[in-house]
């Protein structure tokens, strides 16, 4: 009795006992029988599991060098409170976030110097073309919306992003099942075999961007991803000429939560893809440890257009590097119901005719 060991039932979680009559371990709660070896191996896996642990060591951004920011001006918007940075040769006439013309000039101060910048690769002409293509072929888009767009107001902005590097060491346990069918003269049998599947490994990520500006919608910024970091260069103020720049107002410690969410799901996807040959797979336990979490501060190029239609604000954004264009559009209610009725009637007639033919 010195070595009293209690095992948990992998099927229901109850405490399991040795059943001397069948010389096997049997769960008194759900009556499932197990080989002793199975339970030992399963127990070892459970013991190794540890809770998630994600820590970041960040060293993002640098201090500005002497004289580097002398030429930079800050415009702040009296309407929405947005602040944008321009170099001395550029001027802003309206706020890029809310389209309000009331902007006030001030001296640039504070904030960290970005580590990297991806310079604009696509010009304003490409951005206008992007918008044109974005509006093209959308049947439910109100016609008037296309015409009313002041397409010239489209602005190039450098948006602040925090970039996170990470190596994730993870172990994920799944409960999986295989189903097989066989039959004799009178009965069909379905045999479901349950397995505990353990996967562990390391996944490395580099430069996951998280929007560091509250003025730019996070979902909008994620929608124009990905950016190719290979084209990033060390930050120089010269790159800002002719464009507007936003500065971060959410620090990297807050942004890291978002990066973690995406890392976790990515790791789960990667591991899940290695669990094959089962009919069902359910994740039972995950433990993810992040090592070498590093963060950097960078400016990424975005073309932005704000427009108001019927009292609602619509924002379009184009990736200034890849040209990916996004932006939710309004629905023309009349057109919607017109198409809805047409397809409903066609569908109803088709179903009725098919039913008549085959039933």
């Amino acid at each position: 009795m010195a070595n009293l060991q209690e095992y948990k039932c992998p099927a229901c979680g109850g405490a399991i006992r040795f059943d001397s009559s069948i010389q096997k371990m049997k769960c008194p709660f759900c009556d499932t029988e197990f080989e002793m070896e199975t339970l030992k191996a399963f127990d070892e896996v459970l013991k190794k599991e540890t809770p998630d642990d994600i820590n970041w060591k960040t060293s993002a951004g640098k201090q500005w060098a002497e004289g580097e920011i002398d030429n930079m001006t800050v415009y702040s918007c009296k309407s929405c409170g947005g602040e944008i940075v321009v170099d001395g040769t550029t001027s802003a006439t309206s706020c890029p976030f809310c389209d309000n013309p009331v902007v006030v000039m001030g001296r640039f101060s504070g904030a960290l110097r970005p580590d990297y910048i991806i310079p604009f690769k696509l010009d304003k002409k490409a951005a206008k073309e992007g918008l044109y293509n974005h509006l093209k072929g959308k049947k439910l888009l109100p016609k008037i919306f296309k015409d009313k767009n002041h397409i010239d107001e489209i602005k190039g902005i450098y948006v602040p992003f925090w970039l996170f590097d990470a190596e994730a060491n993870a172990t994920i346990r799944y409960k999986a099942s295989k189903v097989s069918y066989y039959s004799d003269n009178n009965y069909n049998y379905t045999k479901t075999s349950y397995y505990s599947v353990i996967r562990s490994g390391a996944v490395k990520f580099e430069k996951i961007p998280v929007d560091g500006s509250t003025k730019m919608d996070d979902d909008l910024m994620e929608s124009i991803e990905p950016y190719d970091f290979k084209e990033a260069v060390d930050f120089q103020t010269a790159y800002l000429a002719g464009y507007l720049a936003d500065k971060y107002d959410v620090d990297e410690k807050k942004c890291v939560t978002r990066a973690n969410e995406r890392i976790k799901k990515s790791v789960a996807d990667e591991f899940r893809s290695t669990v094959q040959g089962y009919s069902t797979v359910v994740e039972e336990n995950t433990s993810i440890h992040l090592a070498n979490g590093k963060a950097k501060y960078a400016l990424y190029p975005v073309w932005v257009l704000n427009t108001t239609w019927n009292g609602n604000k619509y924002t379009f954004a184009m990736n200034g590097q890849t040209g990916k264009f996004v932006g939710d559009l309004p629905v023309d209610k009349g057109a919607y119901w017109k198409y809805f009725s047409i397809f409903s009637v066609i569908g109803a007639v088709a179903i009725f005719v098919l039913a008549r033919l085959f039933i």
Partner: protein, 270 residues
């Protein structure tokens, strides 16, 4: 013509009074001795009887297969099947060398019906086919709408013989289409609305292009699994069993009547 019919009815009435056993042992007649409609119970008006006889004659001669309707007041102790078989055999019904035919018998006292088939009739009217026909007319018979029931019986019989001549008689897995239930109108409307919603939903979703990224796969540099700690551990199995579905029967079941001939058929209450 009318006079002749009246005479017939009188003969029929007389015949129905005579117990079947009276000619039970007689040799089966070769030529048809009775019209194809024998309404001993007088369920039909004169006009209906005339119309129905005409229809029975037309279908029977066109298809070369006797379609007969026989009504009696009582089965006189016989089973409905026996009575129907005998009515077929001893009255010279059936066309051609094999006496092809189908007879529908109605007995009012017992409120029983029976179908007797013979020759090609056995092939054309399978057990499942007969059930289908009866299901379609039993409502009329129970309600006393005899003419409607009989009329439908002739139409169905005609249709079944035509089908049988194609080589694939109506059977368990091959029955004529039932009239569509009105529920299909509702299903079609709901299905149509669903299709409309899906198509316009697709158009609507093309207007939406802003959404969160779920994963960070674009920034994934390498994945290294450690094979030593990867395990697929068998735990336990559960076996469930379900009874196999029985094969449904097809074709016609047959029996031998008092005359020694082989008949197909079925019977029941109405």
């Amino acid at each position: 013509m009318k006079k002749g019919l009246n005479l017939f009815l009188i003969i029929l009435l007389l015949l129905s009074i005579v117990p079947l056993s009276a000619y039970g042992e007689a040799v089966t007649a070769d030529a048809r001795q009775l019209p194809r409609l024998v309404d001993s119970s007088g369920l039909l008006t004169e006009e209906q009887a005339e119309k129905l006889t005409e229809k029975l004659d037309e279908v029977s001669e066109r298809q070369n297969l006797d379609v007969i309707i026989f009504t009696v007041d009582s089965l006189e102790g016989y089973t409905a099947t026996e009575y129907a078989d005998d009515a077929f055999d001893y009255n010279g019904f059936g066309m051609g060398a094999n006496y092809d035919g189908i007879l529908l018998l109605l007995s009012m006292e017992e409120r029983e019906w029976a179908i007797s088939t013979h020759g090609y009739g056995i092939t054309a009217f399978t057990d499942a086919g007969q059930k289908y026909i009866v299901d379609n007319i039993i409502g009329h018979l129970s309600d006393g709408d005899y003419y409607e029931g009989f009329d439908k019986f002739v139409d169905l019989a005609d249709n079944f013989i035509t089908q049988a001549k194609t080589g694939a008689p109506y059977d368990t897995n091959n029955l004529p289409k039932k009239p569509m239930s009105p529920i299909w109108i509702l299903i079609s409307i709901l299905g149509g609305v669903l299709i409309g919603a899906i198509v316009t939903g697709g158009m609507k979703s093309s207007l939406k292009s802003v959404s969160k990224q779920r994963v960070a796969g674009n920034y994934l540099v390498s994945t290294v699994m450690s094979p030593s700690s990867n395990k697929d551990l068998y735990l336990y199995s559960v076996v469930t069993k379900t009874e196999k579905p029985k094969e449904s029967e097809t074709g016609s079941s047959t029996h031998v009547s008092s005359s020694g001939r082989t008949h197909g058929g079925s019977s029941g209450k109405f």
